[in-house]
Subunit: 216 residues, 2 copies
């Protein structure tokens, strides 16, 4: 059964996955980029940016695992870009340049319709205006039996968590304080019953936690 | 200089240090006791309850360190007991029986005055009605140059954090989801500048994080 999976979601000690005041200049909010240093120290993380070298230990294994068995991605509009409201034109095609690191169909949740955009390397951005369940259904169909990866941002992950649709949630706790920003976990009394958390795995300066949905 | 220290503050993955619906039956809120299993697996944690045996590794070292150099404790009324409002009588003397595991003066923050209570083994409960700064000043004086330990509950720790008075904050992340309850970190934009977090230390199924206040 095709799963919906979140990977490498990095959280500060005070519970934020992005800092405050997100903008074009600070897409992860002020200080938010400090969360992700661990990932760009790994071989897989560097390769994602077109670089070489990097560590090949536990952290790298987690990054690699995030791509295995994934046939499509769903993301929120904030992860796709900083543009708000109706699309002024079709110029913005994501943060990732002409060849995004997906290589498969990506479904972007938005309230504003837009034609699909085909990028280099197999990534095609589709814009879904009829809600998260529809986006997931379309992603599942496009993945052809493989899993669907849920990107971000925080609001999109919260939305799918609240709908009970996330099967696998890999959270990384970084020894960083952000003070304010976007949380991933909002009060949800049934969360404790719906998910179980594996024992923590020590990485290189971060801690990996994997939540999986309990069988219904 | 006498420090104000928090130790063994255990937080769920979703950021709660106590579950929802705290009561006499569930002093740590529903499910909250699941947070503390790691501590009662250690030698020091068992000894606290009058027991024997237990592990002697990283987790035990952190529990032991929580008591070293401490000459007084400050706690909120919720940590002292479930009684709310004016004290109906002087019957309630804490959760810990006739010989509490403190062995030094304990200052309980409350809005309702009450005479001090001397327990067995050196613990004396004092009730402070003029606020957290006064409680800390009295505890520092009673500690005679030693450090002051800040107990709980969550609201009391939040209060001292907001006042910038906590010097050392040992947080333990347990692979538990509570869904709802009491958070320790509320949005506080300056927290990121006031504290730094050491790299995580892997315990036995939990992760230790130590925050220290940056020099002013």
């Amino acid at each position: 059964m095709s799963q919906l999976r979140v990977h490498n979601l990095t959280m500060s000690v005070d519970g934020y996955v992005a800092g405050p005041e997100q903008s074009l200049q600070h897409p992860l909010g002020v200080g938010g980029e400090r969360l992700h240093g661990w990932m760009f120290a790994t071989r897989a993380g560097r390769a994602m940016l077109g670089g070489e070298g990097g560590t090949a230990g536990v952290d790298d294994a987690f990054v690699v695992r995030g791509d295995v068995g994934v046939g499509a991605t769903v993301m929120g509009r904030n992860m796709f870009g900083p543009v708000r409201g109706p699309w002024p034109d079709e110029e913005w095609t994501g943060w990732w340049g002409p060849r995004p690191p997906y290589g498969h169909p990506v479904f972007v949740l938005t309230r504003h319709a837009r034609p699909s955009v085909t990028m280099e390397g197999g990534t095609v951005f589709h814009f879904v205006t009829d809600g998260p369940e529809s986006a997931l259904a379309r992603a599942r169909a496009a993945a052809g039996g493989a899993d669907v990866r849920l990107g971000g941002g925080a609001a999109t992950i919260r939305q799918y968590l609240a709908l009970g649709l996330v099967d696998h949630l890999h959270v990384v706790v970084a020894p960083v304080l952000l003070g304010d920003g976007e949380r991933i976990f909002e009060p949800a009394a049934d969360l404790a019953f719906r998910y179980e958390c594996a024992p923590p795995v020590a990485g290189d300066g971060v801690t990996h936690l994997v939540l999986t949905r309990r069988p219904r």
